[in-house]
Subunit: 327 residues, 2 copies
Amino acid sequence: MRDVCVVGLGLIGGSVLRAAAKAERQVWGAARSEEDVAAARAEGFDATTSLPEALSRAAERDAIVVIAVPLTAVESVLSDVAEHAPRVLLTDVVSVKQPVQEIVRRAVPEARFVGGHPMAGTAESGWSAGRADLFDGAAWALCLAHGTELAWWAEIAHLALELGAQVVPVTPELHDAAVARISHLPHVLAAVLAAVGAEAGPLTLSLAAGSFTDGTRVAGTRVDLVRAMTEGNRAALLPALDAALGMLGAARGSLASTGSLAATIEAGHEARRALAALRAAASTSVRIDLRAPDAAEALLALGEQGGRITEVEGGAAIGRVPGPSEQ
Amino acid sequence: MRDVCVVGLGLIGGSVLRAAAKAERQVWGAARSEEDVAAARAEGFDATTSLPEALSRAAERDAIVVIAVPLTAVESVLSDVAEHAPRVLLTDVVSVKQPVQEIVRRAVPEARFVGGHPMAGTAESGWSAGRADLFDGAAWALCLAHGTELAWWAEIAHLALELGAQVVPVTPELHDAAVARISHLPHVLAAVLAAVGAEAGPLTLSLAAGSFTDGTRVAGTRVDLVRAMTEGNRAALLPALDAALGMLGAARGSLASTGSLAATIEAGHEARRALAALRAAASTSVRIDLRAPDAAEALLALGEQGGRITEVEGGAAIGRVPGPSEQ
């Protein structure tokens, strides 16, 4: 088992550090925030404010380096990687994948890179919000891009599984389109809903209950983090916003002209049912030989069907895809 | 203490029945659903499928009648009220207030009516989803309309407080405008978000985590209930939809042209902070003499400031308004 070096000790990086330690990996962390480093050390973890030191150690031990900083800080961290660990086995947990892939290709072309994104988080941030069990049962998107070697992918998948997650093989493009709809659009809609409610004053907020509280929860996330992830996925977020605007405009038009919201409410109900059905679905076990020539295609097909990899062992990835189902 | 007759034994009516029994009121229920009535009886409650029987008993004992059916069924229930208990002390828990007020005026003009709306609920529905503690700490909007006598209002407020809620005095107009923003718009946005996510297929839903799950939760509510409340509040919902469309369109335009979502994300964050601040705010105790000539105005002013009534006793309403505060 390779050692692990985590760069960035916020919610996600701090949780990776804790979960990797719990999985008995040798793990150390680095962050620019003296506060996060001091907090990690106070809890007995190996952490430093010196990125060069942490990265040199990673190069020396051929460790996995996990980049866990916001998109806006990736370029700067990668210039340190290029200097101190240019050929390292590298992954990241940033919420957009095409932009990171491009920066990596430019900044550390010789790194063995596999982009990743654990679908876990809270409205909280920083070291103190992290937990060793943050990834338990969560999906961990892991990219197969042009040039990704399956041996690297399998090693990072193994780490993600050890941290408690289930791995979803995906291309950077499909990942970014998906998170635009299920992560970035929810943040924008939560902001809009919160603002429309609050602009009506205290009586309105005083009457707010479950539907408003749930619908606006992620609007409490730190502004810089939300901006980094939404603005960083601009190309994929624009069509998702257009889809939402189109559907909301159609709802408005239908309510004004006919008094009916049937199409909107039914589509939403059916979609929520599909989500519940996917989560509860019977599933079929799948075994993919990672040495087979079509292994990458098989992994991506599994991801596109809503499947997940739950084990990587002996040169094979074992997982489940939804179905057979009565839907 | 007056007896209570609850018409409709779904989530809200069933919870009123349970909570009123717990508060040691004499209470009985009536519903058209044989299933709900059988379930209520099986748990030891006094329930019947005969509305005329339940309402005649209410007239005889001068009980409070609580209408707890969807808006679309109100007219039909009120024709029974007009026949069997035309001058009863009447309230309702329907999610829109102007339409109910108008139907009551037309159908049972002699009833002593005070419209109400407890801000509590779940995505579940039916008798089995109800709970005696559903209203604990919840806001219960209670209308002061033209012609509402404060003595009636105080009696219904007393009942709502006994059920565990806090009472928000409000006009039907302000209520409907407020719930359009904090209840009906969240349902429409949840439906839009769910549909935009699901139309992208199983990979997208497989990656969905907290922000999508929370943002779409209320899309799981029964379609007929959501349609009844949103379509029933059409006049107030249209401007709320326009506000959301305007803000979402501005976000889209800004992202496309400048790459920034700053204005949207900041407004949403500030609004969510305002919600948290209102809930955590220091508050000042207020006592309103219900026999004073300006009592109704004082109650409505308290509601508009985000205040709540927590006690009705000895001809006075006692409550709290937010502030002083450091905001």
